[in-house]
Amino acid sequence: MYAGRIIMSSIEFLPYPCFVVDQHLYIMERSQSSGFTFGPAMNFLELVDSESRKKAERLLKNGFKSAEGELKMATKDSPFSLFTVRINWHKEWGYIICTEKVQSLNDLIETVEKQRLRLSETNFELFEKKEALEESLRNIRELSGPFIKLSKQTALVPLFGTLDHLLIVQNEFRFTHEAAKGDYEQVIFDFHGVGDITEEGMGAFGQLISQLKLMGARSIVTGVKPQHAFVVNNAGVDIDASFIKSLRDAIKETIQ
């Protein structure tokens, strides 16, 4: 008897709005805390906003399966506050717990509001120009690494501009594709037109060379300037290529 009484009142003092319902969602028991948040109701669905009711029925009357989802509910403060509602069934009773999503949602609303204000200040003329500029930068990067057939065995890739991660990443598919298609034995990368080299760029270049090697093409690097030497030697990856001073020498050596 005594143990029974403890179980009967077990949800009463839980610090959340909690309910015990029957299979039709009639409320059998509710926590005290639910009374601070919600008004009185016979059926749980009365607490749910009219346009969340169908969802609530699907979620909560789901053949005695446990479930969880968001519902908009009428509280004492607001006609549609957002709650996460969880239900767990034990025998013919459903145990429901409701947690309000106030704070996280308010943070989100604030971010969105900020976004909206920023948006109203966006200068679309500049925005479109920026997009156009990015497009032409992409084109320039593709033009910065043409793939030229020198002979049946040898291809030449003169690189231009800054050798950075993007330059490699944007072109590597094309390089490996061309190398595979032409079945080249060697690819000469000419650094003559390269300005700066970044560490990440050299790292990506090292990987590109390994890929080419796997496909059966060895790499030759020419035209390295003294100011490149430090980055090239300290890129943190092995550059598995032969270094030849000038493009001319390299061509001489490979095309005999």
């Binding site: 699907r58 989802g69 968001e70 549609f80 609303i109 948006l119």
Partner: protein, 219 residues
């Protein structure tokens, strides 16, 4: 919902602004008008997003991201269209706002952009606008049309109060009321007024010429 609407909604939900923009460009190049794009693609995508929530497949947080992306795209779309819009200025003014507490403004924004595309000077005052603010602005700026919008049933309670106050305005602007509930319920019965209830965005095509030509819009 057709597959394009779903695809657009997916782009919004994942915040893929660029992919969504590509889709809008396709629509533009296929010769669709702004009205068609707003109504068939964008409105339907938002409604579809509402369905996904009802099916417990997305969260309200996802809806927030999608709406912010959608808002940005509307602005970008409008700017793009304006670049080769040769419409003459209509020499008419319209202002738009949502009733107090109402946060759903995307539909209102589309209405406002359509007026602007037709050469109207517009002021988009956005969501949640208290009545005094509306009245002040309307008295000083004297718009020819005032467009109001509400989405939640709860804000409908305030509609008749807003309309009654706006009808007192000395320069008697035309009042347009829009929002998803207009086709579902009869709100005109709680207001005595001449306010025009817009069920579908395309209805404003019918009214716009009347506002522009005739001074007497109380027909």
């Amino acid at each position: 919902m057709n597959s394009q609407v779903k695809h657009f909604a997916d782009c919004l939900l994942s915040g893929h602004q660029d992919a969504a923009w590509e889709l809008l460009l396709e629509e533009i190049h296929a010769g669709k008008s702004s009205l068609e794009i707003y109504q068939q693609l964008i409105t339907n995508a938002l409604i579809y997003i509402g369905q996904l929530w009802e099916e417990n497949r997305i969260k309200v947080a996802d809806e927030h991201l999608a709406s912010a992306t959608c808002d940005f795209l509307l602005s970008r779309y409008f700017f793009y269209r304006q670049q080769d819009n040769k419409t003459q200025p209509a020499n008419k003014k319209a202002m738009f706002f949502c009733l107090e507490q109402e946060q759903h403004y995307l539909g209102l924004k589309m209405a406002s952009l359509l007026f602007e595309e037709q050469g109207w000077e517009t002021r988009f005052l956005g969501p949640n606008l208290p009545l005094e603010y509306v009245l002040n602005m309307a008295e000083s700026w004297r718009p020819d049309v005032i467009g109001l919008s509400f989405t939640t049933l709860y804000s409908a309670d305030k509609l008749s109060m807003y309309i009654a106050a706006l009808e007192e305005l000395a320069h008697s602007p035309a009042l347009l009321v829009g929002g998803r509930l207009i086709p579902k319920y009869d709100f005109s019965s709680d207001t005595s007024s001449s306010a025009i209830f817009i069920e579908k965005l395309e209805d404003i095509q019918r009214w716009m010429p009347i506002f522009v030509c005739g001074k007497d819009h109380h027909v």
